[in-house]
Symmetry: D2
Subunit: 266 residues, 4 copies
């Protein structure tokens, strides 16, 4: 008797829950543009507890994800469930002297990813995202080769928010991990209370990640435009200088979270 | 300085937040089918603390909503933001002797509604929903008149979950409020903790509602089919008997929530 | 034996065809902004055979349609099939001394409407369209009353193409028909030949319309912005002056077409 | 002066046209299930001029396409424009003693592909299509390896139409081309005349294809289900026996068409 489910919806058999418990596995094709924004604007998206690096360094990443979960085989068995597109901006920061990152804004096109993200503290919104796929044969799209250009774009509520591209130059050296992917990301978990009063949840958290891997990483020249929208403050982070670009396969597993108390303004 | 927002995403100016604080106003066109499901199956979707009515009475409602918020004029100014479609099943229950309702399953097509719903405890998933609109002139669709049939359908992940219809018979008597709309709905607010351990939030809550109004309510003959899906347990609630149908305009304002402790299995 | 269908796909039973034969019935809620564009730009979207009016007069219309067909009851029975949103620009022109209109650009969100439009000569593309609905009760959206503002927007491929609004001032006089709705629209029917050579179809056509009706028409102050897109030439028609706005219910039936030979450049 | 464009919409600069002229290049990842349907049902979807093979042999293919065009660099530069998903059934047939194929039903999720398909005679409708992607690293999805299962599904108007899967067994021998990809497909080009009378275009056509290539083809065990829908006749082709499965990269270029007169019932 009783209702089951790690997340809503609860149901008698537990089969209706949107989000299964971790471990969660992620494999994706990432397209990233490294840039420097206005240092003050980049500092302004950090919560209390994170310190700005000072040079406005940031990355915009488009990613086509496949996801699965140890406790729910339905995710990998249904591409409409486990696969999705994502676009986000990550800014560099420091936490007690270590290099970390913060993702102030992120969009996805899948409700599982949306809900799973909010459980982590990713401030996800729905977006329409398109990312160039690499082709294996023919001329319908670019191949993984020098000179090939890969594009990404994201829109929300019918308004384009960002678009970028990377023209591949050369395979990255063995062991290279793009900056945008290698820093721990500290999120704010925030659940408002409709009954009034302070938030029900308000802390800082980062994912505990295992089995991080990259493959077929190329570096190249990046281009990036961030656009204005009355529903976003993304444009304040517009690039002053684009410093690099990459495209590659990436994977990791999320097994849990580390949590810290959030200060005011977090 | 610091970050602002009643919900994620937090931002320097507070303009990126997905969900503004209440009061929230809702105006919609609702199409509802009242039915009796298998009493045991209906009882099985109730959390600890709610008692079954015993006759399996329930309603399936399709609704086309317009929403606004006192503290965010952008919702009413952008139809892509404030408007959405919703489909849900509500079952009758009792709480300490009073008649209440429970919405075990619900789908929407808008991320604001999704996030706002989870703050209330509505266990929303994304769905593709289509509902017949009433037309004012011509023969492109049905008018609000006896004999006109209005249809609703919802699918998730490419699989049809429910479809129903109501053929209007007569305007409802003055003061009539469809059962599916008049009972307080008790939700489970549930936020899992990625760091392990018990949920961060786990209680029972109902919305505090003001300014409830209906208009142009018609009653009529309903039809309803609930379909199987490997991601849902909805089909267990399939109608044994359809007992009625209605179509009408409905509105209310949500100003807050009343909260109770959740027992085990809630 | 043999395959049946007025349009593709042909099938043994004729039930797979996307578009049924006329008569087709349309009932909609239209939001229109009348404006004057650059006269040369407006003249430039006319095919040979149509003469410019000279003052750049045009209208942008957002419409939420319900459609049905005498020979296919499935359209009115499934709201996912018969209902859709549309956005288009219409420019005034003259044909042999009579006032006509031309729709150079139009977007819809439904494949039936897309295919049915191309059969007429409407040059439809897919778009994401949102239009404010009028509410009957409550404060979730605007009512049909003086001072209420209705918005429309259309995007294609994730880029906003147009947005406009009308603030209602007063009900239109009895018998008033918005200019954007009352002129016959002359289309170019054009079907290219993949085998090379001239188009398989290339002529001018207008719909034969019966049972035209309007209701609840209000006039008011309009606002309109047309945006650039690398896939469109819409922005060339950007308003020099907005001359009016309206919102109302509209209906008509299409029973056939009148066809003329197209000249070069049509 | 005058209007330009190989397809609608015509525009002063020719930049608004939805479909550019050939050559068109296609590169895709195809997932196919070979099966035998009821021989009479399979024969019944052939137009006059095509003879049934007699054993009901057919294939269902899910494909994720990238497309480009020599005369329109915008297709490859915008992933929202050139990339799309497709699902179709192809049945084997004979034309004057040679082996050919016929695609009676096909769905896509992109308006360029929709319009380009109808120009060829592909009877495309809009569908929601999801196909498992191969991953390069990690456990978020399957890799190209023995035992990995890839899934495809398509829905239309919120109703699931088909789903299938292939569990990879071994790489196909060098030079192997899946049957579903190697036969010329004969289409019916059909354009109804809204002005009444016979269709404006009604013939049989096949694409002229160059640069056909496949890579990374695996064969394996297939599974396929075709579902009923009141808007389709697909379910009549439901598999009596699934005879094989494959997954691989495929590419070709369409440079034109060969056309034949259509007989009655074509």
């Amino acid at each position: 008797m009783g209702l089951s489910g790690w997340s809503l919806p609860l149901s008698p058999g537990g089969g209706a829950a949107l989000v299964p418990p971790p471990p969660w596995h992620f494999s994706g094709e990432a397209l990233g543009i490294d840039f420097r924004g206005d240092p003050e604007a980049v500092a302004a998206v950090l919560p209390a507890g994170l310190e700005p690096v000072g040079d406005g360094s940031a990355s915009f990443v488009f990613c086509e994800w496949s996801s699965s979960a140890d406790h729910d085989p339905r995710l990998i068995a249904d591409p409409a469930r486990g696969q999705y597109h994502e676009a986000y901006v990550a800014v560099a920061a420091r936490l007690e002297g270590t290099s970390v990152a913060r993702v102030p804004y992120i969009w996805v096109d899948n409700d599982l990813s949306f809900a799973r993200g909010h459980i982590q503290g990713f401030p996800k919104k729905a977006g329409a995202i398109a990312i160039t796929r690499a082709v294996a044969v023919g001329r319908g799209g670019p191949r993984l080769e020098a000179g090939a250009t890969f594009h990404g774009q994201v829109s929300g509520l019918g308004v384009q928010l960002a678009r970028g591209s990377v023209t591949l130059e050369e395979p990255a050296p063995e062991g290279f991990i793009p900056r945008a992917l290698r820093l721990p990301v500290w999120h704010t978990r925030l659940v408002p209370d409709l009954a009034g009063g302070p938030p029900l949840v308000h802390d800082l958290a980062r994912n505990l990640v295992t089995d991080f891997a990259v493959a077929d990483v190329w570096t190249g020249a990046g281009r990036l435009e961030l656009f204005g929208s009355e529903f976003e403050e993304l444009a304040a982070l517009a690039p002053v200088e684009v410093t690099g670009g990459f495209r590659g396969s990436v994977a990791f597993t999320i097994v849990g979270a580390e949590v810290r108390t959030a200060g005011p303004g977090a």
